[in-house]
Amino acid sequence: MVEALTIVLAMGVTRGWRAALTGAVAATFALAAIIAALGPALVVIPIEVLRLVVGALLLVFGLQWLRKAILRASGYKALHDEDEIYRREAAEAAAAGTQLRGGTDWYAFTVAFKGVLLEGLEVVFIVITFGSAQGHLAVAVAGAAAALVLVVVAGVLARGPLERVPENTIKFAVGLLLTTFGCFWSAEGAGVDWPGNELSLLALLAFLAGCSWLAVRALRRRRVSLRPAEASA
């Protein structure tokens, strides 16, 4: 969501707010349509099958996030630089020619639409998987809407790139939560009875957080030990 907001802000500041906001609103409606179409379809599938499939998808998706967050935290992957993204998008937008059709700047509209749609798809995926596995899609949608309002308010207050948001910390936490719930639901769907039922979620979260912490430490140490060797080569 932070990347999407950065793109919309860059388009709004450099090309004008009308087309940028229209693109963002159009993408938001497209995302809402995806939720509205997929939500009722998922209700017909038996809950055990849904938990196995949705849990497995969530687990793979969460592990991907966690892996990237660990690589970023240990210096093996560059941190997302919102300030740099903002500068690049703004420079490209300023360099692009103005194509007005029907009074709309289509460059700003398309970039804002694409940015919000692609980044929003991650949110939609999480909302649908969490909502359907628990049978509370409406609550998951309300939570996502609250998060959206929070990000937009932060963007309006910042009025610029959101470099102060500790993005990797947030992604680390989200990756941990997705992997934890993915583990829990997929195993439950496979026929597992968790000791302590939902309480085992806390143990799972602690276990995965511990593994991640160990991985970050080990990778940082490896990076430091390789540096003198690289320098002498």
């Binding site: 196995l52 497995a56 998808l57 687990l59 793979v60 998706f61 592990l63 991907q64 966690l66 892996r67 990237k68 660990i70 690589l71 093996y76 798809l121 991650e122 995926f125 992997t179 583990c183 997929s186 195993a187 496979a190 026929g191 597992v192 009875d193 968790w194 000791p195 085992s200 799972l204 276990f207 995965l208 593994c211 991640s212 991985a215 990778l219 490896r222 990076r223």
Partner: protein, 66 residues
């Protein structure tokens, strides 16, 4: 056909991402978990251990590649 392929590639990259071995490992771990659970033996430990092993292995590969 080009659009179908691009659509498939988008979803593959969106869900599976940089390391396909993680996705394959998760499927194998869940199959093993279901098989053990079907016998009535405790199977709750299989998925967390498999996840930790898959994560460490994937990070090790990524670190070696630089």
């Amino acid at each position: 056909m080009r659009y179908v392929r691009a659509f498939g590639r988008f979803w593959w990259e969106f869900i599976v991402g940089d390391d396909w071995r993680i996705a394959v490992g998760v499927v194998i771990a869940l199959a093993a978990c279901a098989a053990v659970a079907a016998t009535g033996a405790p199977a709750w430990w299989i998925v967390p251990l498999a996840v930790a092993a898959l994560l460490f292995a994937s990070l090790r590969r990524a670190a070696r590649q630089g």
